[in-house]
Point group: C2
Chain length 337, copies 2
């Protein structure tokens, strides 16, 4: 083991070893039960793939975005899951550092979509800010955006390449513009006017044709590479994979045009995609997400942006929203669950 | 094909279809021969893996960083390749959205490193800016950093989460701080004082233990997920995979501690790692990289940061340095080669 300890120390330093300073995992482990939120069964999809070559079962669990984000699409996705739309379809393309994609459009074999399906529109890709929406927005340094807006900064060191502010809503990464005005007491007050979900590794979105209104939800993709943030506000993000992403990311890349598998045998069969709320209670996996509006997550983001534990000698002084995912744990792995 | 055209239109729009506005690929296709630079055989490593389960050959091509970046490590890597250090070793761990890692340290089986190996020091993780260094630094909006520094900006929209400026040196992504002063004519002049290579998808780095000086180059990793920029300046980047990254990214993830494969059979044997300059000329693959100091790349970065071709309705207004990789083409794929 000496060899492994030597070469793997960097990772161990991140995942286990007590370090000279606090690690992100130490903060997660110390977070009180009161800051963990159970994810509602109606917000979770379980995609069961055919067993792998070794006969091992493969399940991919997707958490759907909370409304009002992408609501027209998440409602369609729930309706499609209830109608067993994806059962018997397949994962038909995989592009390295891009996406894997699955499902089937209504144009094939004259399938008709469930009556519960609604119209979708590109207007839904971002939302007007509404005061009722509970969101914690951070600049990339892990400070609340409002605080950040009060500071003079060099203009790039703590920024996000794609938006004025980034943050989390119920555990989901989002971005926004920021409108800053001077309040009655002369202090700067900043608030978003538009807010939208972002593409990170493991994000799930709705495939569409060139018309921005074209994607109904019948075909979905998951990101398996560096966050393609240029897709934000151009396509509907509906959620993210919270368990089993490796069953998608290790699939062989397709060699046909656009990474489509050239033979039927290369495709991965999808046995079923079900909403947990449609499954027997005893059969449902249960997950908790760390409250992204809570103190532990605030500290987690700050530490992620300023690593100074054993392995690190130069704290970054910033963090990419896609490198600070809301911690999720499965009850089975959680003694307190 | 109608079905595929429908569902794959997003990708087609990015890779092929003439669009209402210029696409990044159109700019690459139109770049004159004078802006393509052949990559020197002494800067390229070919890692030959054992054939895959279907018997298909697997080659991974790594471009080493130009000196003076990480010079102590790239010299060691060349010495190790010449000494066949990695021949017969294996890829021994894979961690989803993190890295795959290979090689062997001198602690095993009493191997001694080549005499040509030199000392390495954490001082080499970033460089003092030297006027002799040819670099083009951009803010994430695709504008030269000096121009960006002349503008008043909101401080985050066009920024990078990890550095004041990002850019490219001989095709390799780098980051820097920016020192801005007022010149004789009253205009702002900004220049980096420190500059360093960054971790992007497919970057190759030197595994090390907790001591920042510990990594000699005998064990390497490649990034197979979202850019772990927090590692910048904490570990030595030595280059990037320019061909065959999918042979690493689709490897099954390890199930042991730190993603180490639990059985010998799960490891991927490395047949050889050779410098192209050590191979017979006729056997060498040849690659060209688009000059990152040239006009075509400048336009490429601008368009990547402001996509408004067929698929896009909301240009991002920015781009992550790791989403704007220097285009590389293999001569075999290049009629003009």
């Amino acid at each position: 083991m000496k060899h492994l300890v030597l070469v793997l120390a960097p990772l161990f330093a991140m995942i286990a070893a007590p370090a000279s300073a606090t690690t992100p995992d130490e903060i997660v482990d110390a977070a009180p039960d009161s800051e963990w939120r159970e994810i509602a069964p109606a917000d979770l999809l379980v995609m069961t793939l055919a067993p792998d070559a070794a006969g091992k079962p493969r399940e991919v669990v997707v958490q759907l975005l909370p409304e009002p984000f992408s609501a027209a699409w998440t409602r369609n996705v729930r309706a499609l899951a209830k109608a067993n739309w994806w059962n018997g379809t397949s994962i038909y393309r995989s592009v390295d550092n891009w996406v894997v994609q699955w499902g089937e459009g209504p144009v094939e074999e004259g399938k008709t979509v469930p009556a519960a399906m609604g119209e979708t529109s590109a207007d839904g890709y971002s939302l007007d800010w509404r005061s009722g929406l509970v969101a914690t927005l951070w600049d990339a340094h892990g400070r609340r955006a409002a605080e950040a807006a009060d500071k003079e900064r060099d203009g790039s060191k703590f920024g996000d390449p794609y938006a004025a502010a980034v943050g989390y809503v119920n555990g989901m990464p989002v971005a926004s513009d920021l409108e800053t005005r001077i309040g009655p007491d002369g202090a700067k007050i900043s608030r978003p006017t538009r807010i939208w979900p972002v593409h990170c590794y493991a994000s799930v979105g709705v495939a569409r044709a060139l018309s921005p209104d074209a994607g109904s939800g019948t075909e979905l993709y998951a990101v398996i590479g560096h966050a393609p943030r240029q897709l934000d506000r151009n396509i509907a993000v509906v959620g993210k994979v919270i368990d089993g992403i490796e069953h998608l990311s290790i699939l062989p890349r397709g060699t046909g045009p656009a990474g489509v598998y050239e033979t039927e045998g290369e495709r991965t069969p999808i046995v079923s995609v079900r909403l947990l709320s449609e499954m027997p209670v005893a059969a449902r996996p249960r997950y908790r997400v760390l409250d992204t509006d809570g103190d532990s997550f605030a500290r987690y983001a700050e530490v992620k942006a300023n690593r100074d534990d054993a392995f690190y000698t130069v704290p970054a002084g910033g963090a990419d929203v896609c490198n600070v995912a809301a911690p999720v744990k499965r009850f089975a792995d959680d003694a307190s669950g």
